[in-house]
């Protein structure tokens, strides 16, 4: 479904990604792990069109998207939960959800969709009139995820949803991601919390210094001696 083939990318003269190839299939959960600065977030930026790759190509449902603008890529069915959630803090909770249906295909379903989302996240219904900036850290992340679900995307990309949250809240965020998975969405999850992310994964990629060092199905991935030693502390 989403295919990234031989992508390289750079910030100015500084090369960040080197010939990365990953793939996310229908209804599968794929995670990308790796240390800080490995290029995980950059990879999501390239897929969503915020950063143009210097080489390689990306296809979604067989259609090339690497030369498209972000708004066109989102229209094709990708939703993004950016790092830190990046909710619109001076818009109300309701407006944050409404803007999730800005994509043309989703505008008609706003009223139905918002009820579905409220049944999934009752706390957002309680707070719908509040400014999003008044939410707690965990609620913001919840809102960011709910906003991404509003348009009923085919694939949802999450950039370190657990970053900067307390352990208890992190647990809830992963529960949320698990619920999205159960709803049948395809997920591309970038995480530093390796052990928790692996619990959800069907397939995993290890990214180091802008290169895919290792990849495999979860069962194979957790058995890899290098992954075990460096990332799982075993």
């Amino acid at each position: 479904m989403l295919k990234v083939e031989g992508i390289s990318a750079s910030y100015g003269k500084f090369n960040v990604l080197f010939e990365i190839s990953i793939e996310v299939g229908q209804k599968s959960t794929v995670i990308t792990i790796g240390p800080n600065g490995a290029g995980k977030s950059t990879l999501l930026k390239v897929i969503s069109g915020l950063l143009k790759p210097t080489s390689g190509n990306i296809t979604l449902h067989g259609e090339r998207i690497d030369d498209k603008e972000p708004y066109q890529i989102i229209e094709l069915g990708i939703s993004v939960v950016p790092e830190g959630g990046r909710i619109f803090s001076e818009l109300s909770v309701y407006e944050n959800l409404k803007i999730g249906t800005y994509v043309k295909r989703a505008r008609k379903i706003l009223n139905r969709r918002i009820l579905e989302i409220f049944s999934l996240f009752p706390i957002l219904q309680e707070r719908q009139k509040q400014m999003a900036g008044s939410l707690s850290g965990g609620e913001r992340q919840m809102l960011a995820i709910a906003r991404a679900l509003m348009s009923q995307p085919t694939i949802i990309m999450l950039d370190e949803p657990s970053c900067g949250l307390s352990p208890l809240v992190v647990k809830n965020v992963f529960k949320l991601v698990d619920r999205i998975k159960a709803e049948g969405y395809s997920i591309l999850l970038v995480e530093q919390n390796v052990s928790r992310a692996l619990e959800l994964a069907d397939y995993a990629y290890l990214l180091e210094s802008g290169r895919v060092q290792f990849s495999g199905k979860r069962e194979d991935f957790v058995q890899n001696p290098y992954v075990k030693k460096s990332y799982l502390g075993m």
Binding site: I74, V80, P82, G100, Y102
Partner: protein, 288 residues
Amino acid sequence: MIILLLNAFANGILYGGVLALLAFGMNLIFGVLNVIHLAYGQCVMVGLYVIYVLTVMLGIPLLLSCLIAIAVSSILGVLIHLLTVRPLLKAQLLNQLIALVGVMIVLENLALAIFGGDFLAIQLIFPVFSVGNVFIKISMLIPFVCSIVTLAFLWLFLNKTYTGLAIRAVVQDTETASLMAINTKRIYLITFVIGGILSGIAAACLAPIYSVHPHFGSAFTLTAFVIVVVGGCGNLVGGFIASFIIGIISQVGGVIFTTEIGELLVYVILMLVILFRPQGLLGVRVKA
């Protein structure tokens, strides 16, 4: 004296309403693009010249002239955006500012070349009515009502439509807005169209009060800029409140002291705000 002050206060509120309209366009453009539209007052000036040419020279009814002026101003807004701002979107902010100063100089000198340096007015005489001891000029009341109605429509547009919501999202976070499938370039263009329409309506509102001349615009660019800063750059509600503060202070100050001191007080307010509340009345302080 009290009666004089009351009159000045009423005038200040009426004047503030027109200022609110004038500053709104500049404020919105700053909020969305982070660019101070330094040729904004000059766009209003173009609108005033259009109204003058149509009503005085061609004898077209005032209302129709005003509508044409609004159309011309919105086209001018589009042209300024496409020719100077869009090509420089990825350049440093200073470049856009300099380009807009260029537009300002071009427009002023075009006006000078075509119309000469004279003060041109449409010569309308409106009646005055009184509420108790307070005299209200119809020529001030009509623009005030037009401004408030326009701003009310704008408020509805920003709060009730998808495009309005998208504009407010871009004001807060352009990158995340683009991840919501918002075409930010289109929003930039729409913002300049709105700015153009507002400068046209401002011209229509000011036409009965002021006579136009080639340097007419700079005073209004400056006043609008002061309001934007005092309100908290890009904060639309802050700008609205600041307009009335500035309007009332300049009018009341004009009565207590002289008109010049009244104008000067406006800049005293600006300096006080910059010194003691640099984020503006309702602005949020951004950590460096």
